[in-house]
């Protein structure tokens, strides 16, 4: 019973991280119909940069904020330089370009920082909180993860629902041509969307790195888990990303806990295939609206 409890808690915290990365994927997909396979690697890169900052003596929280900003700039740059030239052509091209970017980033990180795994400092204790007499598999850092991701989700939802910027972004994503006819600078907003996704991805990297050793490939599995989470959630909304993330996190935590470690990716694959066979639009998808 205690095992179940701990595995569930573990699944929740992992799920929150997947939700953050899944949000990045959803933001980009909604705006540009592209799955950015390099999102994880971009988060890896920003984490390495944070690592350099921290090694140089910068205070953790300053580095944290700084890295989120760098994530924003990085995301915007990638859209402007690499993705912009591909609009309107085959839908496979951006997929392949993002895979290329993934590989280039991993190579560059490896070349600069080497292949050895590094340790990333944690701002909070990572040992389980003690409740009563038992140590629970939920640490202060895990609490930080949950809170940080919730703030991200709430912030994103608030931006979209209540701000004029969010209105413009939604219009650009749903009906780009019409939005342009209404004077909306759609191109700029798409870049902004990628920038926001960059923040979410950078956050994910910073949340994962302290929990395990990190190297150039440490975000690979997280990316495909986030992809599974995004698909389950329907690729439409932040709420979907959150729910999908939790579902995926719990699923692989149970697989790893009860069937043995190493089989989690297989568990995620099965989960993905089952979802795609049974409910391909995901849990939250709305039917496409008529546009006439």
């Amino acid at each position: 019973m205690e095992l179940f409890f701990n595995i569930t808690l573990n699944g929740i915290t992992e799920g929150m991280i997947f939700a953050s990365l899944a949000l990045a994927l959803v933001l980009i997909f909604r705006a540009t119909r592209i799955i950015n396979f390099a999102q994880g690697a971009m988060g890896m890169m920003t984490t390495f940069i944070a690592f350099s900052f921290l090694n140089a003596g910068l205070n953790y929280w300053w580095a944290f904020v700084f890295i989120l900003l760098i994530g924003f700039v990085f995301g915007s740059l990638v859209e402007r330089v690499l993705i912009r030239p591909l609009y309107g052509k085959s839908e496979l091209n951006p997929v392949i370009v993002s895979i290329g970017l993934l590989v280039v980033l991993e190579g560059v990180a490896g070349a600069i920082y080497g292949n050895a795994s590094h340790g990333f400092p944690s701002a909070f204790s990572q040992s389980g909180i003690t409740i009563g007499h038992t140590k629970v598999a939920f640490s202060h850092f895990d609490l930080f993860i949950v809170i940080a991701v919730i703030i991200l989700m709430v912030g994103t939802l608030g931006l979209f629902r209540f701000s004029t910027l969010g209105l413009r972004m939604r219009a650009s994503a749903f009906a780009g041509e019409i939005a342009r006819l209404l004077g909306v600078r759609v191109g700029l907003l798409l870049t902004l969307g990628w920038g926001l996704a960059g923040i979410a991805g950078a956050l994910a990297g910073l949340l994962v790195a302290p929990t395990s050793s990190f190297g150039p490939y440490f975000m690979d599995l997280n990316l495909v888990y986030a992809f599974t989470a995004a698909v389950i959630g329907g690729l439409e909304s932040p709420v979907g990303a959150l729910v999908g993330g939790l579902v995926t996190g719990l699923c692989i935590s149970y697989v790893g806990g009860y069937l043995g470690s190493g089989l989690e990716p297989l568990g995620a694959l099965v989960l993905l295939i089952v979802t795609l066979m049974v409910r391909p639009e995901g849990i939250f998808a709305r039917p496409a609206a008529r546009r006439v």
Binding site: E177, L181, L182
Partner: protein, 247 residues
Amino acid sequence: MSTSKTLQWVLPMLEVKDLSVSYGAVNALRSVSFTAQPGVITAILGANGAGKTTLLRTITGLAKPKSGSVRFAGQELLGRAVENIARLGVAHVPEGRGIIAELTVEENLKLATLWCLGRGERQKAIDHVYELFPRLSEFRRRHASTLSGGERQMLVVGRALITRPKLLLLDEPSLGLAPLVTAQLMTLLRDQTAGSDMTVVLVEQNARSALSVSQNAVVLNLGEVVVSDEASVVAADSGLRHHYLGF
């Protein structure tokens, strides 16, 4: 715009000159020229495939021409980005109406005002549209996808008028509407145009109702201008009507 009020009445607001557009090997428009004045409706008529939609799309920057020029209030429009043309005061109600189905009615209207109006003026402008179309104010919080054809038409016309555009382009607004609703729409357009400094270009297949509210008419056939004259003259010419306009 630096032209004085009197000059506005002399200078035509929209000048299209020798506009040619092709899609690959197909010539959609061939050396089309016409002008449209402010304060009156200019109708663009012709059968399906005549190039009417291509004409509007080229004016607002959605399609790129091979050659020619489009001047509005003295400024060349060709080569500008779509959103920049819109920000010059050009409103385009596209083919198929162009509601944004996933947004509410109020959001559709609000969106159009974001580039030019501050929060205070925004609400006033939205309220003004609700005065024009009282039905819309009942639906303000509903998603645009739940509206009927006629209600959608009200929404997109309201959305186009909300920023008090200098140039209003409408692509077959009567499509799919009942005759009574079409008549109401045409009357509304005529009333909004008369006495204003707005230039209105109305593309229609329903030539009869368009001619009833327009001052000038341009008839296109297979991408070329075949007639450009006062609407009353075009309406009176029964041979022309039969040949190109179907009535």
